[in-house]
Symmetry: C3
Subunit: 433 residues, 3 copies
Amino acid sequence: GLPARESQLRKGFVGSVVVVLAIVLGLFFGLVRYTEFGEDAIEDVERHYKYFCDVQIMVFIGFGFLMTFMRRYSYGAVSFNYFASALMFLLAILCIGATQQVFWNHHRTRIQIDLALLIDCSFCAASGMIAFGAIIGKSTPTQTLWLLFWQVPLYALNQQLVIHTFKALDMGGTIVIHLFGAYYGLAASYMLSRKQPLHGLDNPKNTGAYLNDVFSMIGTIFLFLYWPSFNGALASVSRADMEHATDAEKMAQFLSIVNTLISLLGAVLSVFATSALAGGRINMVHIQNSTLAGGVAMGAACTLRMTPGGALAVGAFAGFMSTLGFQYLTPFLDRTIGLGDTCGIHNLHAMPAVLGSLVAGLAALGQHSEYLEHPNGRTQLGYQVLASVVTVGIALAGGFVGGWMSTFLNLGKNEQLTVPELFDDGAWWHGTR
Amino acid sequence: GLPARESQLRKGFVGSVVVVLAIVLGLFFGLVRYTEFGEDAIEDVERHYKYFCDVQIMVFIGFGFLMTFMRRYSYGAVSFNYFASALMFLLAILCIGATQQVFWNHHRTRIQIDLALLIDCSFCAASGMIAFGAIIGKSTPTQTLWLLFWQVPLYALNQQLVIHTFKALDMGGTIVIHLFGAYYGLAASYMLSRKQPLHGLDNPKNTGAYLNDVFSMIGTIFLFLYWPSFNGALASVSRADMEHATDAEKMAQFLSIVNTLISLLGAVLSVFATSALAGGRINMVHIQNSTLAGGVAMGAACTLRMTPGGALAVGAFAGFMSTLGFQYLTPFLDRTIGLGDTCGIHNLHAMPAVLGSLVAGLAALGQHSEYLEHPNGRTQLGYQVLASVVTVGIALAGGFVGGWMSTFLNLGKNEQLTVPELFDDGAWWHGTR
Amino acid sequence: GLPARESQLRKGFVGSVVVVLAIVLGLFFGLVRYTEFGEDAIEDVERHYKYFCDVQIMVFIGFGFLMTFMRRYSYGAVSFNYFASALMFLLAILCIGATQQVFWNHHRTRIQIDLALLIDCSFCAASGMIAFGAIIGKSTPTQTLWLLFWQVPLYALNQQLVIHTFKALDMGGTIVIHLFGAYYGLAASYMLSRKQPLHGLDNPKNTGAYLNDVFSMIGTIFLFLYWPSFNGALASVSRADMEHATDAEKMAQFLSIVNTLISLLGAVLSVFATSALAGGRINMVHIQNSTLAGGVAMGAACTLRMTPGGALAVGAFAGFMSTLGFQYLTPFLDRTIGLGDTCGIHNLHAMPAVLGSLVAGLAALGQHSEYLEHPNGRTQLGYQVLASVVTVGIALAGGFVGGWMSTFLNLGKNEQLTVPELFDDGAWWHGTR
């Protein structure tokens, strides 16, 4: 086995957790309250709790087990996913709570927790776990912690810009969650990789194994199953708003569920075909990941009347594109610019999110204005593009700076991984093989 | 490892998927629409979405992982389950949608999607995965695809006969899903097996392994947990019907949940005892499968006042019978008529479904007529028997024809598996062990 | 492999199951009925069924897979958990049904099943699986059966004392489920261990393995995900009571969810830091278990206005304490008094439950009386302590007697495990490695 990284863990990692926990604890006592509902507390639970649970399953089981495909990094996959999601969730209560309630809309002096806010926080953690997929196996626990720490305020800021300033269509977070998380992670990975040989596909530890790939399917299938809940989690109508709700609002959650489901089913079929065609055998990596591209691609358009056929076509195309990405684009980027992307998030999240944002904008052209956030489809399309560009910009800038700080500045001492430590639990965990 | 089956995959399989996807896509654009609800969209989601999710978990996690017990076919188990369920789900929207809405009841010209229809489609996929359990490891991907393709229209037809023509009691699909799926799969397996040596219990690859059997329990336990949801998924009352609903209708979902749960608990106890008694050690195959016989056996009777004791007795007997089936009947059928039944679906689905249909008919004799679909219990019993006989007939005929076409006609070239390819992922997948 | 324990299984175990099943079946027919609701059946399902499912997932997936970390006892972990939970569930319908409905509150002559009762039965099974965690690998199937059999009537009695007599705050069962189950199991384990060498940490089979530890995380994460449902499962308000419900009652389920979630998140962070600090590497045992201490510690206080900061502090402290318990206390107790505690339930359940009961009592001091079961906080605190002391007393007495009967009396013949059989599936299961 590898020698333990005792001093880094004990100083850098433990110190960082203690500092973050102290800050969060102080700010919670000072700034965070329960929402005062009266009877509406019951409605809040009835309306949101099932969806909150489903999204949480996606974040903690879905992403956590999806990454256990790594033959020597399965502990780190499921456990750092658990740790980092919990960390980001708590930070998100502060950052999203503050942007949404204090600085933008409600103009409160305290953050009030309700279940809709908690769903947003779980979304933020999902965005972080997407980014984590690019760097997993290549960063120390301390680096992971700080990279994902900084993602939270940027996520909160970008969410406000996309949803409230640009009024983009993005119920399921194609732009806010997937596009943002993917480019943040890819930029950070690019910076980390600059100092690391064998950080990519040439590393024999950077691969699956038979039973690990079965574990990974636990993640895949739960992501598949609850993606309709994910995209529709915040699409319901409160009892108070019901009287004045438009048809579009009343249909939003139903449409989100149906469109997302059908898109995913289309992706499953096209991925199996594309994988077999491209490789001559079917590749578990494609099945584990690209089948989910149908969910990403429908995150912005899910509340629209895509028609069932439209949703199916989008999903089938997203799966096709994502599989080709794994087959051809990831090796190309690895070879040419040295971009390490452990889980292939460029194929599962980045490209399908670009597609998804465009789909929403183009579909907007044919929708009744009730379904849009802008007066007409062309304006909506413009803002979809604007929101996507701004999101990619913030994500890349944030990821580059974060990745640069954690490697070139080398905030902790010796925080760089050695080659044998890459994609290996050994330095961090007891009882590895 | 085994040589790749490149040309079969690239031509037969990819070609088949492309053809099916093109047909489905065309028919979706032409024939499938969203249901136009207005406010009732919200009710549809509230009433059905939790149950839809639960049924989906059973189909994709439950059946998918249940079959990962196979030591060298775990990729195929969870992944072809994923692929084939998605395929059948999409086809079911068309076939069930058409039979229910266009040709029988609603006399529409278009299929309208609502969540009740989607639950029915997931049921159809469940029926397919039951059939898949008989042939898994013995058919090529292309054969699997076409065998399960043809099951969908037959399922839709048989469902209409059982539910609408014969008015059998079958809320949880004992007849429509389990009896039909099991005999369809067994007939297909019989035809496939005619050309295959070592297709049964004599093949050393046709067995579990330690960690694979733990994976399989993921499937078992999720099936156990959500079976009450499965049987009760369509037993709720709409707000509009509430005023005129009978007591039986108001109690239906509650009774489905309670009866199914108690029946399953009884099966768990009796299976452990029977397994230990029959084998001198406890057998994981029995635990993985026969404990679920309590759910199958209660699928037709679950809306009746079985009494808690009655539900418990039925479940305990179903588990007992199913375990004996695995222990004695499957080896006997394997030896004598060469019937291959990889997952033992005859014991988990076929026999408990025969029992379940009879239980519903016999229990009907003592029920208030409100609980029945026919004026009295004796007529109901007669129609339960009739529905079961017709179901077995359609299933066997369909399975024999489907199995015959895929082997003796040999639609694709060289679609027959060689002996080393049986129960082995190697020919189809990258990265197998 | 080990020789099969055929005669013990066939006589002792099968005989015991048959006897229990016959008794339960008889009592079900005589005493157990459905609740007669009319329309309220629909409300019962809407209010409770999601929570019932979530709690069941925790019992059957959560505890079942948590224990699969054992390298040679994974079959027994997930399967005996399945068996014993089913057994206890059925017994609990009788015992809890009788205490709650016949002898205490409703004064009926028959037990009536509704979903709230079923949630209570699942809670009882959870308590049993906690106790099972102390003895797993060290008791024969027959011993396990009878030890957990006797736990049920004691659980029902203690629940009535704690909730109805002492009116302790305990919505999530910190006292009734965790404190009781843990000390019952520890006392039983102590008695079992008296006759067993190599029953503790010195046995090389009493440890995890790489992939087993990943399996275990399935349990951990589902426990984490649904713990808010667990603590809030019975905290909802019925439609009939809504009009006269206090603010505290209307907020109870919302507060349970939010407090439990935040407490768990705090525990996750503190456990990672404490584990790395204490061991120089992170320990999967701590991650698998101690991160959940935040849920245990919030089970009694969850309906109170802890404030989000307060919930976070409690969770972080519970995780810290639990991790130190695994690191230092369990080895100490193993070495000094020979207390075997296979899963470390003293650290995950016993100590955090003591903490949780105190937290509820102390928090009660600052609550509006609406939130309390007693007129003021000081009385409430006193009853929290009293309830905890009585619970520990009943649990220890029950566990000692039960453990003594199953070893020193040796009810079955040769029911003692030999050393090679400890922590090994081999004697009981087909197909072990």
